[in-house]
Subunit: 192 residues, 2 copies
């Protein structure tokens, strides 16, 4: 195999969830692209690093100092997420109309990430006029720990702190649902 | 979402088997890379287009006029594959020690690809001294048709034409094997 193909494949394999097989497949796909397509690909790679900074308010990726969401939406509710990509997912749901706050990580003592390693101070600095903080961290150990930590900090300030409901996901099979999820779904059952 | 992120995601989504979700995930991963990593990624992309040409004998991707395999291996057997990536797979098996011939496609009337659209003429030009041609095209309609066409051309020249055995794959479940595969596996059963 030509070195340059292996080299490119190794770059692709740095992407999340890309194994050596997919990486090689992508490298071959690049070989099938036209020069122009590859140049455009390159430009897009560099452009994203040049143009995309962080919103000075929510910490989401933004090409402007203040992101469109912070610039346009009411700030009575803040939805706290671990990563910018979580905002993309939330926005797809088209339900939430407030602003966000990106922690850029979760509290994870094992990885040496304490409260000061993530953007909690910045969150505390955004709370005047806020009526509710929705903590939308992942339902895993770090996510839960982070949510609890934030709740303990903010609740005393008289601000409502909520988190996303847990339960069985749409279109999933109860038969295959894990016991923890099912347990939470039973506890949080709603009347019909 | 910043335009440049969407733009990069759209580039990633051009890669085989990459949906919009993965593409966006990759774009975010690029944002987490250092400038240097991104530059290296770009270089690898351009380098592969600049350096990688086709082997003048087998038609595989190669940085040299004649690829290392054609340059070093005996030419008594030629393994015919549809795409360069098939060679990578064959080589991983570490069984075949002959040379290859890349058709760069399969006969597919539906897509308007006849025998002249793929590298069959080039194959016929490589047959002196060849004792066996192993046709390793995919076991699908186009692959089978291509194999049959090649066999009909080459067998009359007194050259043995073989194809890869079909049967159940290692580690697979007979329970879940499709009936065609299972049927072929029964027909081609071997004594133990």
């Amino acid at each position: 195999m030509p070195d340059s193909i292996n080299k490119l494949a190794s770059k692709f394999s740095k992407l999340p969830g890309v194994g050596s097989k997919s990486a090689l497949r992508y490298a071959y796909a690049v070989l099938d692209m036209s020069e122009d397509e590859v140049d455009a690909f390159c430009e897009a790679l560099k452009e994203v690093k040049e143009k995309v900074k962080f919103c000075s308010q929510c910490g989401d990726y933004s090409e402007t100092d203040i992101c469109p969401i912070c610039a346009s939406r009411p700030k009575k509710t803040i939805c706290v997420v671990a990563q910018p990509r979580d905002i993309a997912a939330m926005e797809k749901a088209k339900i939430y109309k407030g602003v966000y706050h990106v922690l850029r990580g979760t509290i994870s003592p094992l990885d040496g990430r304490g409260p000061n390693e993530i953007r909690i101070k910045e969150l505390l600095g955004r709370l005047d006029g806020v009526e509710e903080v929705i903590v939308a961290t992942n339902p895993d150990v770090e996510g839960e720990a982070t949510a609890m930590y934030i709740a303990r900090l903010i609740r005393p300030l008289g601000i409502k702190v909520t988190r996303l409901a847990q339960g069985i996901s749409m279109g999933s099979d109860i038969e295959y649902a894990d016991e923890v999820t099912l347990g939470k779904a039973i506890e949080a059952r709603t009347e019909i």
